[in-house]
Symmetry: C2
Subunit: 207 residues, 2 copies
């Protein structure tokens, strides 16, 4: 039954996240993940092409969760400028780092950490942050950004900056260094302001 399959996949990803938190990516073994998920090793390989694919799967699930959280948060608390947008985005990101198992290690995938040359470009996360930026674009447009050709690049730069600073905040302080988190918000907000213009509240312009 597909029902059971879905459950097993979920259990595998949960176990993957747990092991990731405990021993890190290098020391993670597919055997251990399968053991914890109480799934035979062969079955793991039926769902995921290998260790990297397994972690990509987790990263994808994380990304969906993040976008979901961000969406409902923005519905609840409407933002009124890039600064407050930056603040909300960073807050939700930080919350996930704290709550989601494995998220502190994996993030949304890997910003090309030390992987290698051209890994085959699967349909999944090749480079994660680019996907994040892509998914954030409609949101940015809705908030008043010009849909120019550079928008994608500007957003990618923004994501990259925010990502690196929040990661830094969690590098030594498992709860996230508050000063560094605040710095991430400020730098991100300033960058968005400078690149996307302050044209936030799209009240009807006099023509």
């Amino acid at each position: 039954m597909q029902r059971r399959s879905a459950e097993r996949v979920a259990r595998l990803l949960d176990a993957c996240a747990q092991v990731l938190d405990e021993v890190g990516y290098d020391a993670l073994t597919t055997r251990e993940v399968a053991r914890r998920a109480e799934v035979p090793i062969g079955t793991l390989y039926q769902f995921f092409a290998g260790k990297a694919a397994l972690c990509r799967g987790l990263a994808e699930r994380n990304l969906e969760a993040f976008l979901g959280r961000l969406g409902s948060r923005l519905d609840r608390d409407p933002v009124s400028g890039w600064q407050s947008t930056a603040s909300v985005v960073v807050q939700e990101y930080v919350a996930m780092k704290r709550e989601m198992p494995g998220f502190a290690v994996l993030d949304f995938g890997d910003p090309q950490p030390i992987l290698g040359p051209v890994e085959e470009a699967g349909p999944g996360l090749d480079n994660a942050n680019e996907l994040v930026a892509d998914r954030l674009r409609p949101l940015a447009v809705q908030l008043g950004a010009q849909e120019s050709g550079d928008l994608a690049t500007v957003l990618l730069v923004a994501v990259e900056i925010a990502d690196s600073l929040v990661r830094l905040a969690f590098r030594f302080d498992p709860a996230g260094d508050p000063w560094l988190i605040a710095e991430a918000q400020q730098v991100l907000g300033a960058y968005l302001d400078s690149r996307l213009g302050q044209l936030m509240p799209p009240t009807i312009n006099t023509e």
Copy 2:
């Protein structure tokens, strides 16, 4: 003789850099590095505790090379503000990415990519960028920064931002996307200006 040892270490690091460029970190094997360096595998393990340590060794050598380049460059072309400092630093960093084998993959170590939890904190690069920031501090002071307690943190944030953006510039364009490199310079310069003040040319103040 220690002479031979030093040569062998150098050859090992060269081979490591080469292999890193060709197949990436994951696929790098200690055997292959040893084979190319024409050094028995056991000898590799006499100098380096393992694959990770080998790469840390390369990262350290890279860092020294970078600091050396940066020093002589600043002697040649004195800077006149944080913006031009940012420009020079990014330029030298980019030059190394282009010229140094393995540097594009390894950088100065790993910004905690997907390694793991608390790896034992050796004397070497635990987190590389912190070391970079540390070594950059005297330089910043000489350029006019206040030697406050936050200086170290501000520099670390600056390095982290520059690092992530230059990496991004090289992620898809092997020669480094010029627009992204320029963006890295601008963002870095703006951050330094905003955090360290514009008090650059330390002409004698009227008291």
